[in-house]
Symmetry: D3
Subunit: 240 residues, 6 copies
Amino acid sequence: MQRPSGRQPDALRTVTLERGYTRHAEGSVLVSFGGTRVICTASVEPGVPRFLRGTGQGWVTAEYGMLPRSTGSRMAREASRGRQGGRTLEIQRLIGRSLRAALDMKKLGENTITVDCDVIQADGGTRTASVTGACVALVDALNGLQRSKALLSDPLKNMVAAVSVGVYQGVPVLDLDYDEDSRAETDMNVVMSDAGGFIEVQGTAEGALFGREALNAMIDLATDGIQELFALQRAALAGG
Amino acid sequence: MQRPSGRQPDALRTVTLERGYTRHAEGSVLVSFGGTRVICTASVEPGVPRFLRGTGQGWVTAEYGMLPRSTGSRMAREASRGRQGGRTLEIQRLIGRSLRAALDMKKLGENTITVDCDVIQADGGTRTASVTGACVALVDALNGLQRSKALLSDPLKNMVAAVSVGVYQGVPVLDLDYDEDSRAETDMNVVMSDAGGFIEVQGTAEGALFGREALNAMIDLATDGIQELFALQRAALAGG
Amino acid sequence: MQRPSGRQPDALRTVTLERGYTRHAEGSVLVSFGGTRVICTASVEPGVPRFLRGTGQGWVTAEYGMLPRSTGSRMAREASRGRQGGRTLEIQRLIGRSLRAALDMKKLGENTITVDCDVIQADGGTRTASVTGACVALVDALNGLQRSKALLSDPLKNMVAAVSVGVYQGVPVLDLDYDEDSRAETDMNVVMSDAGGFIEVQGTAEGALFGREALNAMIDLATDGIQELFALQRAALAGG
Amino acid sequence: MQRPSGRQPDALRTVTLERGYTRHAEGSVLVSFGGTRVICTASVEPGVPRFLRGTGQGWVTAEYGMLPRSTGSRMAREASRGRQGGRTLEIQRLIGRSLRAALDMKKLGENTITVDCDVIQADGGTRTASVTGACVALVDALNGLQRSKALLSDPLKNMVAAVSVGVYQGVPVLDLDYDEDSRAETDMNVVMSDAGGFIEVQGTAEGALFGREALNAMIDLATDGIQELFALQRAALAGG
Amino acid sequence: MQRPSGRQPDALRTVTLERGYTRHAEGSVLVSFGGTRVICTASVEPGVPRFLRGTGQGWVTAEYGMLPRSTGSRMAREASRGRQGGRTLEIQRLIGRSLRAALDMKKLGENTITVDCDVIQADGGTRTASVTGACVALVDALNGLQRSKALLSDPLKNMVAAVSVGVYQGVPVLDLDYDEDSRAETDMNVVMSDAGGFIEVQGTAEGALFGREALNAMIDLATDGIQELFALQRAALAGG
Amino acid sequence: MQRPSGRQPDALRTVTLERGYTRHAEGSVLVSFGGTRVICTASVEPGVPRFLRGTGQGWVTAEYGMLPRSTGSRMAREASRGRQGGRTLEIQRLIGRSLRAALDMKKLGENTITVDCDVIQADGGTRTASVTGACVALVDALNGLQRSKALLSDPLKNMVAAVSVGVYQGVPVLDLDYDEDSRAETDMNVVMSDAGGFIEVQGTAEGALFGREALNAMIDLATDGIQELFALQRAALAGG
């Protein structure tokens, strides 16, 4: 088996995390997983949604979008179609849940952080790149709140990162690009915490079903790959 | 650990599959997983979506809804709010993918089967009950197409069924009801084929993260529980 | 003239009212008029719409929907089309007005009761079955409010019930099923109170116009038929 | 009993029908029932909706709107709210059904006539004024089609006209204005054909219920009032 | 060069301003620029949008619409299409900005005036006719507020009026009708104050580009034409 | 008068045009006017909108969007609000008209080019930066079509570029940034062709009205500034 990119089955693509990518947001990161590039911004606003008012707890939510020509053929703009599609809503719910697993909402106080993940170029794995980049943007926003004394303690419990795994031509592989993703038999997205433990495991058979052995192999690959992502996140945050 | 329902950790709720529940649909099943009740209807229409025209292949899709007062407090009706929520879209995409894994689309020919899953009473696990009931409705519709000679061979490759598993008070448990689901640390939905193999595995940490051991234990529980569901599906189909 | 069902011109279909059909709602009734089956739930919430705040009066409103395959051929789901159609809005306005004629809004206090009428199987007369079943669900909800001392006196002024009448092959007939309805020359829906008097009279020529004589005959038939419905409502409420 | 306008119980308001009110439409009428003024335009387009293609039959449909400040206090513009309300849809369905009862669709051929009724000033009875004016606009459009030889025979079977009746302070009255309408116990709209016979009868109790006697009296009043409207329509059409 | 209407290049069409056109609005004007006829109503409501609350300032906003058959061929009704088009939004933003330039918002106090401009017949220049008529309706509303002592001083700073200019067959012309507008090389809308000065200048090349000389000539024509409009506005207001 | 940026009144900000910014689009440019950064992509698709089918002519259209946190405070995402705002529609209509003035639609054949302008960071002048960058992306797409022999001759008639001008503290200034724009008395956007001539002139008084002299001074500034932009476009295109 030869991966289209020539990578080893357990090799990530080149991953970069560029902090301070745009100027207005409290946290702003351009994350690249190979040809996949996503702008992740974290915006802080005082106040929380109605169901949390008066609880003293904060909230983190996410929105996701793709520029119309981030993909090989142009997609209709969701704003002009008048609704976000099911895939978009599903992805932004996943990102939001993942980021909420990173924070102690009591320490955030009644503030809301909205993380926008906008894909400017897509080559597979946009949702896992989004989670990985969004967590760094979130940390930048939290650090700013602490520097300005808006928060007295750090809400961050742990970092979160995510990667895709799949079975391609019968072989479990890490971090699928679009060429692999569109032909893979199985596709799985895994989100983990650097404190250990899974946040999300979402596997889907795309044709052939997958057995217990393949499931285990994919989980193993993802677990190792995400450790590399944690190291890259730490390096990016140290570099600022 | 005592489950609210008094069930053993590996015990399903009482599951029933009532075929022919309504009169107009080609397949119509009322599925109950304990207090969760879902009407599943399979509707056959000639023709396929644009992206399949001329390929000779068929299509299966699903829609999901909840009656406004299927739940403890009334929810706004999605038709009057003017859009389906993210949870609804996510669930109907899951049901559709699961059912498509049951069929050989070439044998279905250029026909579309739409399976509607409408929850009339919710008590946890509505999406897994929907998949399990929808598959029986789908088989009834396929059988009707064969009886009327609209199809010459059976598109059914295998049955599909689904169940939820989770970690409740530290213990992996099968088929969570609402009381458990709302307090579980982890919630996982598993869809399998009776030919062996997984179709979907979707696990989410709801508070505490879950480790590899818990993941394995949940997969074990689900694998066994789904075998019971296959037996109930076969019995229901034999009873017609 | 032979009715497709073999019924006499002045004969209702078999009408049943099954209380407590689902578990969560304050009132829940499955009403059947022959093959027409509708789930009616009454949900109580404190508070009233803006235009009634501070008046001490309550409010009753209704929503109506049809499951996509409650009908002979599948209809598009209104939630996925993004709007409720004109027929749906017209019917739910009729149900709401009818139910408001049953209550003394002062005695209800500033509470809102929303009655959802969801058709799970359609065979003509869904709106009149809805009114008839909804009134029983409403009474169950009111009785619950009195038992729990949330209300000190009974807001119910009178029962309401409804039936369709029409002219089929030149003969006025009661309670049209779908076969008749789709071929009737005239279709009329009548809503009455058991205290005497009409709440709504809505007649539409579907081809041939109708004269004064036919109008009178239809009103006569409806008046008698609705008396039978009142008796069935009373029996159902006595049986709980 | 004294009507706010000083009219006798069986007196219409001053009704005028001004043909050729705007220049572009095939038929264009400004109808006034006292202070109620509605612009009715009939627009002819070749072709019919999908369900009639190939049948050789035509179609007539109606749309209804109110200018935001046609009423005592400004209403939100439906175009900016993004949806037509239930009342609007109900009224335009009524107008469309009424006008279709005027025509032989076979003679219209596969053409569609859309009649727009836009209320520029409202003082009660906008839907009945709309039906009455729309029929004259429709006739103008049909006459144009015949003059231009687009139609070889006249599709008009009969004129249609409509009026409201009600019970005000216990007395049946004809053609309610806003002052009466907002305080009437019962409100009924009646649409008739000048060939004899009812097209629509829609009565609603607005507080007190109405008995059989009141129903009969209102039908009598409407029947006589509509004869006057037919005479006014004929005079307007003769005047052109 | 011969204009289709036979007018001189610097001649306005016949412009009329009929005050008190409908009865409910605080100001109501039917403005005609030749065959273009627009109903302009000014509605006063206490309160201001959120961003102005507590500032002591008022607000003026505008909405614009066209009756479906105000044009040569019927346009779809925006209310039934579920959204206002880009042209509509662009025009109502222009009218709103123009009217706000007429008032001292401090003197208006925390009141909102909404001006609705509804085109009942279109023959080019609907937006400039709207601005010109709307300003008269606005003055009528302001005068009413002063007569009723709701306002103690006059918020009106200056009148505003607007006209279109263009280049037709190489010649700059004033106040284009539809025949000219649809064939003009350039179309420009100019809004001015009678205190001197421009409020809006919006010129668009429709085919051939326009040079500095043509730009200057159009501005000259508009400046003179608008003076005539101010005289007509004053005459109309004096005539009340 | 001192501009916030320290620039001379007739000085542009630093303008850069980075071609090939993303990989999938036929033309892709990141344009920066100082802190304003916009991704412009040109996408080519065979076929044209219905109103042009069979004419042999092509079409160019534009869409515009802002990332939610491209601005100082986060804006709601238009896709999740379910509609594009008036400002967005107005801007994308302006960009589309401007680009169509650059092409000979006959030479484009029945192809559609959609140019998406997505603002990733906003600091004033996003619409003029969009026009300027979009034209370069369009040229890249046209050159690709010619290289691949999909087009036999070059549809480009002339380049188009745009700049904003305004009156700030009484002085006409070129290329306003956000600090100036939000406090300017007048704001004008000018689009020109490098073949000479204006495509669009849109000036708006934001408080004080502007006289003829200021209008002339702004037009002069814009005319000179746009010549610099043409030089930068040519340099960027030469550099590829």
